[in-house]
């Protein structure tokens, strides 16, 4: 490569760097408005849809813009010939540089490796007349003289483009203004975060409950497995939930419904009957009874009784048999047919004096008692899980609601009648021990809710103070009684002695106090249906957000 070509290439390389920088600069100025416009759109989107950290997303198009402009400035391809042509054109050099670069190629050096086809060769032979060679030399020197006098920075200044910059400034101002103005979605995001937190806590709580149930001893294998499966599924659903309150409440309600279907309404009665039986068996076995009776004590008492059979005379055996028969009748009344049958067989075995049969029946009775204990443990576990779910639902329903509730209470103070009272018709039973008294306390503090008719659904609880006769639910609901710690009043049911068949005397303790009346449904059995209907109405109809929270609060306070 000769010196002229070398020097020319050096100058062109300088110009190339400057041109690349200027191209990137101008590209950046011309396209900055696009990045700013993207920022404005992101901010607007953040006001329409809840968007986490919108200010961070606003920076993304700016960063992308900067990277693209920088990449083009640094890495765009600009061959020397292209540089020469651009410099010639922009600075009015009249193709001096491009011609000199081409002539350098003819010189046989300086452009090795470059595509020869990109330039049309001027001279095919080096045998040129002297004057022509001198012209070529003069041309290259003329080109170098021109380029030496040019400062790339001055020749290619980085100009400001007022119009695109002005547009970008306006859009940037809009972006900043939108970022600084209060965003209504912030409350939604805060609520969502609170719900997500509550969901996480509930998921942890569910996991702990799962561990407890896994370690529980007295559950049936099927019951344990089913509960563990449902709890695992629930924990997974809660963890997968990004913060959707309704979805979480629906998952919890679904599990509650599934568990309530497995809930035995007679389990309390059964529990009471079994405890009564255990106490009775202990009494019959001559053992002392404590304040609380464990069902395992019943098995011990039964075993003791079985051992005492051999020492009993006929009258004692008959008395024992009658007691056992009475217990069988009570067990039957409580719905525990297997236990009733076992007791009846034992009573019969004892009465017949067949020790072997009695022992066999006692064994069966023990197994039945054990099974009953496990089944009752299952029910207790289910109730325990239900209680946890209800607590969890309440926590989730209330998560993030404090601020919204404060706003909604300010809006709804002047509205509505005591719709909430209709939810607790006051015709419940057994709210207080002794039963038979109207409960009426199941209402909420939602005295300021508007009448149900304002929501436009016929199946809503309507009016004030009306009993809970609602749409498709023609039953009257009541607040369920609490499980009584002691047995109920004794009843005397007169019978008629016909002299035929077996005669039984039963001592019955009625575990179901209350007044006879129309079929009643515990309110917790219809609660979820009411809740689902209310939720659907809230979603489908236009209800102010404050009132939505109010309805949710109302139902959460009603949760059983």
């Amino acid at each position: 490569m000769d010196e002229l070509a070398n020097e020319l290439e050096l100058h062109l390389a300088r110009f190339g760097r400057r041109l690349r920088l200027r191209d990137g600069w101008l590209l950046g100025l011309r396209t900055l408005w696009i990045a700013c416009l993207a920022g404005v759109l992101i901010q607007i989107a953040g006001r329409i849809q809840p968007l986490e950290r919108p200010w961070l997303w606003t920076l993304v198009p700016l960063v992308a813009w900067a990277l693209i402009v920088l990449g083009i400035s640094l890495f765009s391809s600009l061959p020397l010939m292209r540089v020469a042509l651009r410099v010639d054109a922009e600075l009015g050099l009249k193709e001096r540089l491009a011609t000199a670069l081409t002539l350098g190629d003819w010189k046989g050096g300086g452009l090795e490796g470059r595509k020869a086809s990109s330039m049309i060769p001027i001279f095919q032979s080096s045998n040129l007349p002297a004057f022509q060679s001198s012209l070529i030399t003069l041309q290259r020197e003329d080109a170098l003289t021109s380029v030496r006098a040019i400062d790339p920075r001055q020749a290619f200044p980085l100009r400001w483009l007022p119009r695109p910059l002005g547009l970008a400034a306006i859009l940037a101002g809009m972006t900043i203004a939108l970022a600084l103005l209060p965003n209504p979605m912030d409350a939604v995001l805060a609520e969502r975060a609170a719900v997500a937190q509550a969901l996480e806590e509930q998921a942890e709580q569910t996991e702990k409950l799962r561990e407890e149930i896994e370690n529980a001893q007295k559950l049936t294998p099927e019951g344990r497995e089913e509960l563990l499966r449902q709890l695992a599924e629930l924990a997974q659903q809660l963890r997968a939930n990004p913060g959707d309150r309704e979805e979480a409440l629906a998952d919890l309600s679904k599990m509650e419904q599934a568990l309530r279907q497995e809930l035995d309404a007679n389990s309390d009665a059964r529990q009471a009957a079994l405890e009564g039986l255990a106490a009775q068996l202990q009494a019959l076995a001559g053992e002392e009874t404590g304040e609380t009776t464990d069902l395992s004590d019943a098995a011990e008492a039964l075993e003791e009784l079985t051992q005492q059979l051999a020492e009993m005379d006929a009258a004692e055996r008959n008395s024992l048999a009658r007691s056992l028969a009475g217990a069988a009748a009570r067990a039957a009344q409580a719905g525990d047919t297997s236990l009733a049958q076992a007791l009846a067989e034992l009573a019969q075995g004892i009465q017949s004096g067949d020790s072997e049969a009695a022992a066999h029946a006692a064994q069966a009775m023990s197994e039945t008692l054990a099974q009953a204990e496990r089944e009752l443990a299952d029910q207790a576990a289910i109730r325990r899980v239900l209680a946890e779910l209800q607590d969890g639902r309440q926590a989730i329903a209330q998560a993030g609601q404090s601020q919204a509730l404060a706003q909604s209470q300010g809006q709804t103070q002047s509205q509505g009648q005591g719709l909430g009272q209709s939810q607790s018709p006051g015709q419940g039973q057994g709210q207080s021990p002794g039963g038979g008294q109207p409960g009426g306390g199941g209402g909420t503090q939602a005295d300021t809710l508007p009448p149900g008719s304002s929501t436009g659904r016929a199946d809503r609880p309507q009016g004030a103070g009306l009993p809970g006769s609602v749409g498709e639910l023609d039953q009257q609901v009541y607040v369920p009684w609490e499980r009584r710690q002691a047995s109920g009043d004794e009843l005397f049911i007169p019978g008629q002695e016909t002299g035929q068949g077996e005669t039984e005397v039963r001592d019955q303790t009625d575990p179901l106090p209350g007044t006879p009346g129309q079929a009643l449904v515990p309110y917790y059995e219809v609660y979820h249906e009411y809740l689902d209907t209310a939720n659907q109405t809230i979603e489908r109809s236009y209800v102010p957000s404050g009132l939505r929270d109010y309805v949710r609060e109302y139902f959460s306070r009603l949760e059983p």
């Binding site: 010939m81 292209r82 042509l85 054109a89 009249k94 193709e95 001096r96 491009a98 011609t99 000199a100 081409t102 002539l103 990109s118 330039m119 049309i120 060769p121 001027i122 040129l128 007349p129 002297a130 004057f131 022509q132 001198s134 012209l135 070529i136 003069l138 041309q139 003329d142 080109a143």
Partner: protein, 331 residues
């Protein structure tokens, strides 16, 4: 000076001096003088078109004075014969009384020849003239006689009196390097013309060059380098004047041009560009040189169709639009 001793600076100085000398006699018409000089330095022949009395004859005569070359003028008339141009053999009697043929050279045997109103002569006479221009020689009675070097013909046409004329055929028009329009002088120029030509003193041009200098300048001009992409631009321009080309033909050419320019047009543009570059103190041909040379080089080489004639579209307008549409930088 010869081609090995003349420098680019000498070229510029001599050309400038010639223009100055011609400018002493010819008022204004700078583009006419420049293009005529370019044609001379390119070794071509020029066709001038303008109304009578604009100084076309004066221009050639003054140019001949400035370059100190022989000048002749041929007034073409319908009865002009080829022998009146090239010469003929005459029977002469020597001192001994013997008769022999002696060639009597015609007016074409000069360095600068003015062929005035060439379109008035018959095609036969025109062809004799044009053949001599092309071949740079004359053949009479089987004897070929070369014409003088440098040899430059400046032919004229009068656009007013076309009746009874024999317009040059397109193939013959193509032999002219440049076609130069001679515009009517401005008022100031007319005043100057009046002052110069109606006074007692008649301005004269001083010789500032000779035939060998012109030849050396011609050779030097051909040595000016031209980059490949500039040559490619000229080729694209030429191709763009053809209406039957591919999809790159401008719409104005498709609509108004019947036949496009020949490769002689490209040669004229490039040679003209080289001389313009040297005159502009440069040693390479630029796109601007090409654009300046394109108009005089192509205006007589484009044949317009009837639609152009009906709409009054001129070749200058078509060439202007072609120059706008064809992009120079296409590397």
């Amino acid at each position: 000076m010869n081609e090995d001793t003349i420098t680019a600076q000498d070229f510029r100085d001599t050309a400038t001096a010639i223009e100055e000398q011609v400018g002493h006699v010819i008022v204004g018409q700078r583009e006419l003088v420049r293009h005529t000089l370019i044609t001379l330095l390119a070794g071509g022949n020029a066709l001038l078109e303008g109304v009578p009395g604009l100084g076309k004859t004066m221009l050639v005569r003054t140019l001949a004075q400035a370059v100190d070359c022989a000048f002749s003028r041929i007034q073409f008339t319908p009865d002009l014969m080829p022998a009146d141009i090239v010469g003929t053999n005459l029977i002469v009697e020597d001192e001994a009384g013997r008769r022999q043929f002696q060639f009597e050279a015609g007016p074409i045997f000069a360095n600068l020849v003015l062929a005035d109103e060439i379109n008035r002569a018959t095609p036969k006479t025109q062809s004799a003239m044009l053949e001599a221009m092309q071949e740079r020689s004359v053949t009479v009675a089987k004897t070929t006689r070369p014409l003088a070097e440098p040899f430059f013909v400046l032919a004229t046409q009068n656009p007013l009196e076309m009746e009874g004329t024999y317009p040059l055929p397109e193939a013959q028009l193509d032999r002219f390097f440049f076609k130069i329009d001679v515009p009517f002088p401005s008022i100031d120029e007319l005043v100057e013309i009046a002052n110069r030509t109606t006074g007692a003193a008649i301005p004269q041009a001083e010789p500032v060059a000779d035939g060998s200098t012109i030849l050396a300048m011609q050779a030097l001009a051909r040595g000016v380098p031209i980059a490949g992409h500039v040559t490619a631009y000229v080729a694209r321009l030429l191709k763009a004047t053809h209406p039957d080309d591919d999809g790159n033909t401008p719409e104005v050419v498709r609509r108004y041009v019947r036949y496009g320019a020949s490769p002689r047009g490209m040669q004229a543009i490039i040679l003209g560009g080289k001389i313009m570059a040297l005159l502009d103190d440069r040693y390479n041909v630029a796109f601007d040189d090409i654009r300046q040379a394109a108009l005089p080089a192509l205006r007589h080489r484009l044949i317009l169709n009837f639609e152009a004639q009906a709409e009054g579209v001129t070749t200058d307008e078509v060439i202007g639009m072609v120059l706008e549409e064809v992009i120079a930088d296409d590397v």
